[in-house]
């Protein structure tokens, strides 16, 4: 086979792996709860495909091919483990399923898998890494990189979480109506954590997971496909798309950090903004407001500047007031203070900041960044310098640090 053929095969493989990974892992693990074995089986199948496809050509239904190969490997893996009592029903199940036609359709169990990954019995810090690995097939090293831990530590944590899923009696199911809002929140939170941006409007920085923004949007789209009627799912996607639309404008040509209010709107992506707006409309037509819709609405007001040339701070302040009522996180309260300062003056913003418990903010960069700006605007120079130092010292991002150093003067 020539080089081109190889390349095509590789591309076909990447595409199938990308689109089918989560579907296959979800399907293979949904009855057995054995996510780790399902992943191992799938990676064996991918290795087999790497050998077979360049030789025999890409099969007509690559996903079915992978499923057959993965299932065969899965049976071997489970048999190998020889946990007789646990594995006999599993094997029976697998034998039965093998009889089923593999032609095209198998159920999409990814929604169940997403709910398992964000199950309350799993450490909240592991919800996002689990999703990234089991639904998107990201390796532990890449996840570790984004979460600022060593690959071996992340690997161990993932193994521990999967063992808990297998042995802890966590069911592969979509939660009942009664529990759904809370459980869905955990799924949305985990996806948003992968996205990890929310502070570009106030010279703050929340670095964790920044490289995973595209993966998070992908997860958001998967979730929307599975739950098209949930307002908050639309809200989350709208929020992420609004932020993503500004990616190019966030840095100057020299790599300099550009705060939201100074970004060149012409660099924003209109198609993404329009898509975000469509989701926000769809969400509000469902008449159930929520945290992500409100955050998306705030971003939508900012996006309006591209058309009107101004920012309606009163509207932003109002959305923050609602947001604080349902989700009074530290980030929200600081966002509110910043909006208040724009709408009612720096004194008012500063008063809101002063109302926050000092223990909560001693290592929280956005608080100090906003505080520094407000003090500077009020001409309280020595206090502003002190706050700038705290913000600079808590900043990870080199470009943001330079920006703050410059503002500090």
């Amino acid at each position: 086979m020539n080089g081109n053929g190889h390349e095509n095969t590789h591309r076909a493989m990447e595409r199938v792996a990308r689109e089918s990974y989560g579907r296959l892992v979800a399907y293979l693990s949904s009855h057995t709860r054995d996510v780790a074995s399902a992943e191992d089986a799938l990676s064996n199948a991918l290795v087999a495909a790497l050998k077979a496809w360049p030789r025999d050509g890409v099969p007509q239904n690559p996903e079915a091919w992978l499923l057959t190969a993965a299932r065969r490997s899965f049976i071997d893996l489970v048999r190998h483990r020889q946990v007789a009592e646990a594995s006999e029903p599993t094997l029976q199940l697998l034998r039965e399923e093998r009889e089923m036609t593999l032609a095209a359709e198998f159920p999409d169990d990814r929604l169940k898998l997403l709910f398992v990954c964000a199950h309350p019995a799993i450490d909240a810090g592991m919800h996002t890494p689990l999703m990234l690995q089991t639904v998107l097939g990201l390796d532990a090293a890449r996840i570790a990189h984004a979460f600022l831990v060593s690959p071996s530590t992340m690997g161990q944590r993932l193994v521990r979480a999967k063992t808990k899923i297998r042995d802890g009696g966590i069911q592969f199911e979509v939660p009942q109506e009664r529990e759904l809002p809370q459980r869905l929140d955990a799924v949305l939170e985990a996806i948003y954590a992968a996205f990890g941006i929310g502070w570009d409007d106030m010279a703050g920085v929340d670095q964790s997971g920044r490289e995973l923004a595209e993966e998070a949007i992908w997860l958001g789209r998967v979730l929307l496909q599975l739950m098209p009627r949930e307002a908050e799912v639309h809200g989350l996607l709208a929020l992420m798309l609004h932020c993503e639309a500004r990616r190019a404008a966030r840095r100057g040509p020299d790599g300099r950090y550009v705060p939201l209010s100074e970004q060149d709107c012409r660099q924003w992506s209109l198609p993404l903004i329009e898509e975000a707006e469509r989701h926000l409309d769809e969400a509000s037509s469902r008449g159930r407001t929520g945290r992500f819709q409100l955050e998306a609405a705030i971003q939508s007001v900012h996006a309006e500047r591209a058309r009107s040339g101004g920012i309606e701070w009163d509207a932003i302040m109002m959305f923050y007031e609602q947001l604080i009522r349902i989700s009074p996180t530290l980030g929200t309260r600081i966002g509110y203070a910043a909006a208040l300062a724009e709408a009612k003056g720096a004194e008012a913003g500063l008063a809101a900041l002063n109302g926050i418990d000092p223990n909560e903010i001693c290592a929280y960069q956005p608080y100090w960044a906003v505080r520094a700006h407000l003090l500077q605007r009020l001409g309280k120079t020595p206090e502003a310098l002190d706050a700038f130092d705290r913000a600079i010292g808590l900043t990870e991002d080199l470009a943001v640090r330079r920006f703050l150093l410059q503002r500090r003067g």
Binding site: L148, C362, D389, G393, L394, T395, L405
Partner: protein, 121 residues
């Protein structure tokens, strides 16, 4: 738990020390030190003189072998350390990531070893 940040700096970072203190690297360090102290995590820390001032000694068959220069011949050199008290490795890694040297050099996080200390004291 106590952690050490071992701060490896680039040659440019060592050069910046000779400045009048208004450069951005020094400014970033001043801010970082303040944020670290104010957070309550800081226990101790010292910068080291530039690597060229180091002298490394080994005894081979009872004889002193003296090497002019630092122990390791690498681009980034140990430039100082910070000792912190923090609840977890994750918190220590956060502080390492914020350290100005981590964007131009490298910062290693190591837990202190109190058990090894007790054995000799």
């Amino acid at each position: 738990m106590q952690f050490a940040l071992l701060i490896y700096e680039s040659p440019e970072a060592f050069v910046a020390r000779k400045s009048d203190g208004t450069d951005s690297y020094t400014g970033a360090w001043r801010a970082y030190h303040k944020a670290l102290v104010e957070s309550g995590a800081y226990l101790a820390g010292e910068p080291l003189e530039v690597p060229e001032t180091g002298t490394t000694i080994r005894l081979k068959e009872g004889k002193r072998r003296v090497q002019d220069g630092p122990f390791a011949d690498t681009k980034e050199q140990l430039g100082g350390f910070v000792i912190m008290e923090l609840p977890s490795l994750d918190a220590a890694l956060d502080w390492a990531a914020r350290c100005p040297a981590s964007s131009t050099g490298a910062v290693e996080v190591r837990p202190l070893a109190p058990a090894a200390k007790h054995r000799v004291m």
